[in-house]
Amino acid sequence: MTKISRRRFLQVSGLSVAALGAAQVPVFGQARRRVIVIGGGWGGATAAKYVRLTDPSIEVTLLEPNKEFISCPFSNLVLAGVESLKSLTLNYNGVRKHGVKIRHEAAAAIDPDKKRVRVGKDSLEYDRLIVSPGIDFQWDQIEGLAQAKDTVLHAWKAGPQTVQLAQQLQALPDGGVVVMTVPPVAFRCPPGPYERTSMIAWFLKTKKPKSKLIVLDANKDIVSKTGLFKAIFKEYEANIEYRPSQKAEKIDVGAKEITTETGDKVKYDVVNVIPPQRAGAIAVDADLVGGDKRWCEVDHVTYESLKQKHVHVVGDATIGLPVPKSGNVANAMGKICATAVVYLLNGKEVPQIAPGNTCYSWVSDKEAIAVVNAYKIENGKVVQIEQKLTAGKSVATAQNSIAWRTSIWNDVLG
C-alpha cells in the first residue's frame, strides 16, 4: 500500500465515507490494477469479461489480432454444408461493453521479469497477465508439410480454410478419395477429428455415395467417445475407412500422396492434414511451456504458470489437468482464472473452483452425441468426479447442443 500522510489519509477517508453509497468505490491506497489478456478465444475473452464482472475497478486490456470470433465448435458442420461459417462468426462488442479495452493486435513478446507485454511499439505493464494463446501447428513433424502449408488445408482453426475445405469436398468427383490425418495426442478438441470423419462421411453418403474417406490416425484408437464413434463409423462403413496407428510422416503434393509410419502410401483427391500441435507461439517464446516444449503446466486452482510468476495460462495451451482441450473447458478456466486473478490482486484467499466439460459432436445433419465431465479439487489438484456419455446419437442431443452454443457464446462474448 502506498504511504500517505495523516492529513491526506483523513481527506481520503472523509471523501470515501461520503462516497460509500456509490456503486464503484475506488480501492483505497491502491494504484489502479492492470490485467492484460493475450488471446480472445474461448478462454481469453471469457477471462477478460469475468475479471471486469468480478471487480469493475480493475483495468483489463485484451490483445486479439482478429476482429471477429469464429467458433471452432460447429465448424465441422460447415464442411458438410449443414452450417454456414457466417452463423459461427461473432464479434467482440459484448466484451467491450464490460469495459474491456480491446486492441486488435497480436502480442509480440512477454517480459515476465519486468511484467510487460510488447505490442507493436508499445510496452504495456501488467500486475497479472492471462495468456490464452490457443494452439500452433508443428509443421516440421510431417515431411513436406512446411513447404505445402498454404495449399494443404488443416481447417483446424475455423476460418477461411474451413470454407476452402468445404468447397474442395463439394468439387470432389463421385468416386473420389478424401484422406484425413489425425495427429498424436495431445491436440485441440479430442473428438474433433472423429466428428469431422462422421460429418464428411454423412456428406459423402448423401451427396457422393461412391466416394470414400480414409482416416489415418496417429493414435492406436479413436481417442474420445470411442464406443459411440465406432458405432457411427459402422453406419457409414461404405464411405469410411478408419486406419489406426498410421501416423502421417510425409506428404507429396505433386503425387497427391501421404506416406505413413508403416510405409503405406495413400493417394488422395482431397486431403485434410490436422498437424501435430503445441501451445501458441507466444507461450513457447515466453518460456511458459514445460519439459515437453509443447504445453504449459499451471496451478490447478489459480492457473498461474508453474514457470513464471504473475502469468496465468488458460485453454488449449495448458497440460496436466485431467480435462480435454475443449471450448467448454477453456470457458470454465477463463471464469475460474479471472476469479483467482481478482482475489490475488485484492489480497484475498482464492476460492477453489473446478471446471466442467460439456462436449457435443454432430454425426449427421440432425443428430449428435455428447460427453460430459464434472470435476472437483482434491489437495489442490483437479480430479474427475464423473464422466457420462449419451447412450447413442439423437436429435434431442443435437437440440441441446444448439442451446449450449447459444448460451456459451453469450458467456464468452455477451
Binding site: F28, N400, S407
Partner: protein
Amino acid sequence: MATSRILAISILTFSLLTAAANAGPLDSAGAQKSLVCSACHGFAGNAPGQHVPILAGINANYFKKAIKDYADGKRSSPEMEPYSKYVLQFGLDEIADYFASQKKPAPAAVKVDAKALSRGATLASQCGACHGPKGDGDPQRNIPALRGQRSGFLQLQMNLFASDKRKLEDAELEEAKKRVFKGLNDADIADLAAYYATLK
C-alpha cells in the same frame, strides 16, 4: 481522544473499502461455486437457449430436489448427472440460494401461432390444479413453476413424462400426471410448451 477517533474512522473506512474491492455481481460464494453453470444456463441462470431451463428465480427447494434426483439417477440427463454431483460437491445450499435470488427474465417474446397458444391455454386448465392457475408452481408441495420457462425444455420434460421415462415419487402426483398425459399427443405437448413459455 482525537487520535482514537481518527483510528476508529480509519478502521471503519478501511474495512468498508476493502469489502467493496470485488463489488461485482459475482461477489458471493454461490456465484463462484456455480461459475461453470453459465456455460449452459446463462449468466445468473438466465438461459438463452430454448432447450436449457432458466434457473434464475427458481424455488430453492425444488432446485435441491432436482439436483439430488439427477445425482441419484432418478432423473436421467447425460448433461446433468455429472453436473449434479459437481453441485453437491461444491455446495448445494449456496448454489440453490444463488439461483433462487436471481431475477427471472421476462417471458420469451417469441413468435408463436395464436391458435397454438389458444389451444395451449385450454389444455393448461388440467395443469393448473398442481402447477397453479398462472403456472407459478406450488412451493408447499415442491411443484415447479412453468410460467416463462424455456419451451424446448418444457417439451422435453413433458415427452419424458408422456413416455413414462420420468416418474414422480409422490404416488398421488404420479397418478395425476399419468391421467393428464394419457390424453396428450405430441402436438398438444408442443402447444402447452409454447403457452407456458410465453405466459405473462
